[in-house]
Amino acid sequence: MIAHEYDSAARPARALEELLDIRSSGPLLLALISRNVKVRYKRSVFGVLWTMAQPATMLLVLTLIFAHEFAARASTYALYLAPGLILWHFFAQTTSIVITEVASGGELWRRVPMPKTALPIASTCSGLLNLGFAALPVIAFVVLAGFPAGPALLTLPVVAVLTAAFALGLGLAVAAAAVYFHDTAELYQMLLVPWMFVTPVIYPRVILPARVDRLLALNPMTLFVDAFRHPLYDNTAASPASFAAMIAVAGAMLVGGWLVFTRCTDDMAYRG
């Protein structure tokens, strides 16, 4: 339940109103996150394993194909590949889920009073939990196999949260467009594939010509993927400069997405 008193003539700006609503919706967010997790793990005995199945399969296939090819540039290719792959998977999944939820949420919002960012936020949080589950085996492997590992690992959760903020912001912005154009979600799915290839997920950055590499740096996902990979791959944390860049990009995306999204939330309940 939102505030106990409501005056349609004294509503704060939409973006602020949503923020106030979500701030008082702690129980709802917790319940939604626990629902997401429960539903996911109930569907099958192998629940938790399925979370990891897709990145694990990709990891296996890509390693089989490219390990030899990239051996000279990335000695332990599987370890180079794994962190970036699970972070990309998290990003792609989270943004897609947010967009789908908003697109199909109109029906729900017409019937049930709830802050409209509640579902997207809860999905982003449960996505973070899944990312944690997927990262654990990689971290365990690094430590147990005796690869150099140190305090750089502590930056992983920070990078994960920044990526989540970026994903949520982008998801909200695209979802807002999807309210008006029904093929936005499909278009986004289509763009995800080339986006992954202009992000250094499956290839080492050093194989690129310097000119292309500079362009790659304009892609925000390059920042996040690199910052998530290197603590695991060669025990180096991202530089303060790249942290500053990540904070700026994630913050701008989240604020921008929030503003765009809350601008059209009143409209959403009207649309079938």
Partner: protein
């Protein structure tokens, strides 16, 4: 409960609508795709639908108000406004107190979760955390009366069991204002009586109730006042019996015309 003093508000007002209007934009075509917008520069064709127009209404605390009118008169829109699912596009609406919208009981029910888990989720929707729900969960299970199904996934439920669970959960919330839609009149006779009694007990306890129904006879009995809506406008507000009689007379006069 204390409220901040809000200008001209009478101390016993629960809901106040002043010249409230709601305009929907309805798309005529299935909706525009980005491709079409770019390629053909086509614009979405929309028509506006005035669901509510210049509605004035004061609901006092503890009062039971019924809303009647033919299909499409704006009854549900009015409830949705007060539930804050919709916002007025004109005029001013004020709501003083927490609202329990029994407009849509099935809200967020999830088929893979058990009745118990769904109860917690629904409670959270109304702002009740785990602890608050723990204190109520036995009463909910008891009222629903679905036995061991309470701990089975919802996909194993019959339609009636689903209604029982949803109603038991939604009405376990303490609220100052109760919004009730006719759709609640489902379930078997025994449960209908049981749910009717519960709503009655709320009313006796001084909960403000706003009820939408097509069963005007029943409304006339339970409501202090009735609002008659047609095409988004208030035709009449007044003591239940008078409004209902005139409404029925008008419907009867219209029926032969409609049958022609």
């Amino acid at each position: 409960m204390t409220w901040p003093i809000a200008g001209d508000r009478a101390p016993d007002t629960a809901v106040r609508l002043e010249q409230v209007g709601v305009r929907y934009r309805v798309a005529i075509d299935p909706g525009l795709s980005l491709k079409e917008a770019v390629v053909r520069r086509r614009r979405r064709r929309v028509t506006e639908h005035q669901a509510l127009d210049g509605v004035d209404l004061d609901v006092r605390r503890g009062e039971t108000v019924g809303i009647i009118g033919s299909n499409g008169a704006g009854k549900t829109t009015l409830l949705r406004l007060i539930a804050r699912v919709l916002h007025p596009s004109a005029g001013r609406l004020r709501v003083y107190g927490s609202v329990a919208p029994l407009i849509d009981l099935f809200g967020m029910l999830h088929y893979e979760l058990t009745g118990r888990e769904n109860a917690y989720l629904t409670g959270a929707l109304f702002g009740l955390g785990r602890r608050a729900m723990q204190a109520r969960i036995d009463a909910i299970a008891d009222f629903a009366g679905i036995g061991e199904f309470f701990d089975a996934p919802l996909r194993t439920y019959s339609a009636g069991m689903m209604v029982r669970l949803a109603f038991a959960t939604a009405t376990s919330v303490d609220a100052d204002i109760l919004l009730i839609d006719e759709a609640l009149a489902v379930g078997d006779a025994a449960f209908q009586r049981k749910s009717g009694e519960r709503i009655e007990s709320f009313r006796r306890a001084g909960v403000t109730s706003i009820v939408v129904s097509h069963d005007v006879g029943h409304l006339a009995e339970m409501c202090h006042r009735i609002v008659w809506l047609e095409r988004g406008r208030v035709v009449e507000v007044g003591p239940s019996r008078c409004v209902v009689d005139r409404y029925l007379a008008a419907s009867a006069a219209e029926a032969p015309a409609a049958a022609r």
